[in-house]
Symmetry: C2
Subunit: 188 residues, 2 copies
């Protein structure tokens, strides 16, 4: 019998991230993961409950990573600059980690508290960067939803190759954000 491979949950998670970012979320399987870790498939169950739990963990982990990148991008900036920086980082994260980004929307349990918490932190950053605009409190929250919709929508369509026109993607993205910011219902 092989000596212990020194595997733990984090090792498994990292390897899973590698696989989904390289091969796609749908390609993740217990067998593939075990092979990548040089152990037999059932051995994985010593560390994780199963494929479903792994996917849940990926979702939570992905949200946490997204949060970290976004928070880093907005430091020291405010107003439009912060919004652009934050938004760009969102898209870059998804481009760097397509599988992990997808995982954040594919959690088996969408209601799990830790997932909700991780998502809430991401929302909070968006709230913060939009809070400096002179908007009604409630309006800010509406706009947060708007911005998040744009970010996710753009990323998702981009990832599925849905922007087929011969038109610069980054420019489309920039103009979309710009248009939204220009239209914000600023109070007088």
């Amino acid at each position: 019998m092989a000596p212990r491979a020194g595997i733990d949950v984090d090792t498994i998670l990292q390897k899973a991230v590698e696989i989904i970012d390289r091969d796609g979320y749908e390609d993740l399987s217990i067998g593939k993961l075990a092979g990548a870790l040089s152990i037999r498939p059932p051995s994985l169950y010593n560390h994780i409950g199963g494929l479903s739990e792994l996917k849940q963990r990926l979702a939570v982990f992905g949200c946490g990573k997204l949060y970290e990148q976004m928070i880093g991008a907005a430091v020291g900036l405010s107003g439009d600059e912060a919004v652009y920086a934050l938004s760009l980082e969102y898209v870059y994260f998804a481009r760097q980690h397509p599988g992990l980004y997808e995982a954040t929307f594919r959690a088996p349990d969408l209601h799990a508290p830790d997932l909700r918490e991780a998502q809430e932190k991401v929302v909070q950053i968006v709230v913060q960067v939009l809070a400096v605009y002179k908007l009604d409190e409630e309006t800010i929250l509406h706009m947060v939803r708007g911005l998040r919709s744009m970010l996710h929508g753009f990323t998702s369509i981009e990832q599925t190759g849905g922007f087929g026109l011969p038109l610069n993607l980054d420019e489309s993205f920039h103009m979309m954000i710009k248009t939204f910011l220009k239209g914000l219902p600023i109070k007088k």
Copy 2:
């Protein structure tokens, strides 16, 4: 042996739509579908190539349905009214057919010509309703991408329960569209 159940591809597709809209896209299986049609699982292969082909068909069919609903909503309208109507129909379609909407983004072959064609028709409607605004030709296409991002993003986040704040969803949606339209870079 049972008499022929009178099943064809369309019957299968409709039943599949029922299942995914009711139980979720992930719940679709050959066994479940066969059960719902009162035939044995292998019998389905007389009509469709397999689960993958079924999913592909669902994606194409979903885009077609979305197109029909959107085109119907915009008839006789133009400008802001058309955009609002179109956008609302988009969201309503997804709410009525959550599984089918999801299927449109989950095609096994994202590059299949018929899928691309169905998607293109949806894009064309968006192009048409934005074309009446005084924008540069290229800008129109950027804005089309923007609007599509918002529609898909909003719908997707809504479907995964990601809008957790106690805030009216339709109002958020309306304000998002309003903000974007207000910010459109109209030419003087």
